[in-house]
């Protein structure tokens, strides 16, 4: 057989923009666009200090959203994360006040987070109880348990060294540094590791998962454990930022985290989405909250506006995805 002449096609290269030409690009664009738009109304918004504060004050949400996006990609959901962070913060603070070495006070919540979440994952995977039920129940348990044990007493007089969030890493405030590093590591891991792939496969469909040689049960437990890990890290940022720890569960945190993951392009349909999107979405939501103050919107309307923006993003994403899907189909 003779070699067949192959027509050369002009094909796009993998530029940095190409690579993110998706929900992440849209979100990044929205983050920047919103900043500029608000900057027109009130230039103070663009001050380094303000932008840094937005990141600093909301880094814990972004970090928690990383794990949440993994959970959602795997086809599950977690409602207990807010309560868990409240519990872990209390544990961490109590240890610090009781005189435990700072490192212990930092590590224990992370370990505990992994254990609690892995246990939930095991119930979901092996006992086959839907995640929404397990985590709903666990939310109740953690929330009630926390108040029963602490009586809601605030933790004060935290030792100075405990405040991880006050430190800097190479000049970058620790919460932001942790957020960036955690996002980057998680993103790389999701992309490049076999177990990262397994998450997509499990959430996508069982058939593809088996074809990839994936054990769905083990993957679900792993995903929940990782989610617990990130919840633990988020706790460190959350708990060490202020001088007091509230000993109650942060109201509505789970919903904020889920929203960030969902707006970040993580489809509940499974199989799509990245943690970068979740982090960007968490930043965007925080930015919107701050921006609404800056442009003097009547605070009564901020919530509906925020809800509307989230809805618009979600619908735009779904429409975009569907178009891409229909374009990809062969005629």
């Amino acid at each position: 057989m003779s070699a067949i002449p192959v027509p050369r096609l002009a094909l796009p290269r993998a530029g940095i923009f190409r690579r993110f030409a998706s929900q992440e690009a849209l979100l990044a664009l929205a983050v920047i666009g919103l900043a500029i738009a608000v900057g027109f109304v009130n230039p103070r918004f663009l001050a380094y200090r303000n932008l840094a504060d937005i990141l600093l004050g909301n880094a814990y949400i972004a970090i928690a959203a990383i794990g949440m996006s993994m959970v959602i990609i795997s086809g599950n959901i977690d409602i207990s994360v807010g309560a868990l962070i409240g519990v872990l913060a209390t544990v961490s603070g109590s240890l610090a006040v009781a005189g435990a070495p700072t490192l212990v006070a930092w590590i224990v919540p992370v370990v505990l987070g992994v254990l609690v979440m892995a246990a939930q994952g095991a119930v979901v995977a092996y006992l086959r109880i839907p995640a929404i039920v397990v985590t709903l129940g666990m939310m109740s348990i953690l929330k009630g348990g926390l108040i029963s044990v602490t009586g809601g007493k605030w933790i004060t007089d935290l030792p100075q060294g405990f405040h991880l969030a006050d430190l800097n890493l190479l000049g970058v405030p620790m919460p932001v540094a942790i957020m960036v590093v955690a996002t980057a590591l998680a993103a790389l891991w999701m992309r490049y590791s076999a177990s990262g792939r397994a998450i997509y496969a499990t959430g996508g469909n069982a058939e593809a998962a088996r074809l990839c040689g994936v054990n769905p049960q083990r993957t679900v437990v792993m995903v929940f454990a990782l989610h617990g890990f990130f919840a633990g890290i988020a706790t460190l940022v959350y708990a060490t930022q202020l001088r007091v720890i509230q000993s109650t569960t942060p109201p509505g945190l789970e919903l904020t985290v889920i929203t960030a993951a969902v707006v970040g392009g993580v489809s509940i349909l499974g199989g799509v989405g990245t943690v970068v999107g979740a982090t960007l979405a968490a930043i965007l939501i925080a930015e919107i909250t701050s921006a609404l103050v800056f442009v003097n919107i009547s605070p009564y309307w901020t919530d509906s506006l925020r809800g509307g923006l989230i809805l618009a993003t979600v619908i735009a994403d779904i429409v975009r995805r569907r178009r891409r899907a229909s374009r990809g189909r062969r005629i």
Binding site: M1, A3, I4, V6, P7, R8, L9, L11, P12, R13, A14, R18, R19, S22, R191, Y192, S193, A194, R197, Y200, A208, R210, L211, C212, G213, T274, R330, I331
Partner: protein, 508 residues
Amino acid sequence: MSAAATVPLLEVKGLEKSFPGVRALSGVSFDVRPGEVHALLGENGAGKSTLIKIVSGVYQPDAGEILIDGRAMRFAAPEDARRAGVATIYQELLLFPELTVAENIFLGHAPRASGGRIDWRAMTAKAEALLASLDIDDLAADQVVGSLSVGHRQRVEILRALSHDARILIMDEPTAALTEADVTRLFAIVRRLKERGVGIVYISHRLDELFQIADRVTVLRDGAWVGARDMADTNAAELVQMMVGRRIDNLFPKIAAPIGAPVLQARGLVRNPTTRDVSLEVRAGEIVGLAGLVGSGRSELAQVLFGITPAERGEIRLDGQAVRIDSPERARAGGIAYVPEDRGAQGLVRAMSVLHNFSLAALGGLSRLGFIDRAAERRMAEAGVLRFGVKTSSVDELAGRLSGGNQQKIVLGKWLANNPKLLILDEPTRGIDVGAKAEIHRLMCELAGEGVAILMISSELPEVLGMSDRVLVMREGRLVAEFDRAHATSQAVGAAMMGGDDPMERAA
């Protein structure tokens, strides 16, 4: 090349596999030698998918053995098969759109530098070497896969298989979604792989392709081995015969029924991209067979007629009245019934009881003011169970627990409860046992006798020829031929199914 000359790379012997209610494979054997393309041929449901899933370690066989280089192997998981050198390229490509070509190729086994880091430079270099080795010069290692065409993506899958040092490559309908140019390029790659001694298992419905690329062919039907041929010693007609079976005479007891006025008249139906300007007519008491290869648009036409994907243009008349069918409800109201192709996904609600499945499409008639007359419903289902000979412990049994044939009878039965004027049957006897098949055929004749117009889609040519008063042939979304019963021979219909440059004629 004779079988004794070389040890086959891959050999399977006497494979058996059953799923609940279905016997997917019984006693299938075949082998692949180095540098050979061995085609697997068979209609949907013949067992090809099950066979390749066993070979690639997804399923474990109930009996039989798999030998690689003459040594018996057990694949407990897909990784085992991959380690043994078996790589499978599925129709749905398992790629990651956000990653580059190189990253996709080396996902999970990237070259490592010291300390376990991924050695990006080495990875890119290796990817480029692989690309060069197959003379692929229009694909770069750093392109993002999401931006590539289907043909390119498939090449990435092939490269990924090669990066695992695969010696046996299984390709499941690789050309199903490819353009003409891409098919040409794929064949060039396949030939290059043959030169390297890779054994290829090639699955396709396109007979003309097989004559171009395959060395040998094994034909499966209903999970059983039918025969194997060297491509050089066979022709399309023989293969079609092997594929669709020969038992024309005794199995299809077509009883002539008086043919009445046209029930369905369709003119110029268009639904892009699968239905292109189709006009047809089905009359009362008439059974019209709709033949065509997989992907020719048969089921899609049925779904246009039934309103699931309504026509974009064209006219449908029922009993001479122009009607607009833009939803299944309208179709049902017009007296159309549709027994779909995919029983599990489209026809049956497995988690519901036989009783509730029976009444699902007839709830309107069984209820008053929205309230279901439960006694009537039960009477209807029990009558249906008797009439169609459904084997079940009771009508309260879950439908999903019954065998395929009994499930099909329920799907058929639920539509007949509506007393349809037009019955569209899509693969009515696929995957069910011979007895159930005969019963369904008997039923079709009975219905035709009662004056129902029947449009039957089937991949089984003898069934089409045996049951139809008229045969329509579809190809690429159009009706390309029409035969009356007297002139519908397997040669003629088969030729029309194959299309223009008739391989059958050429081979004959």
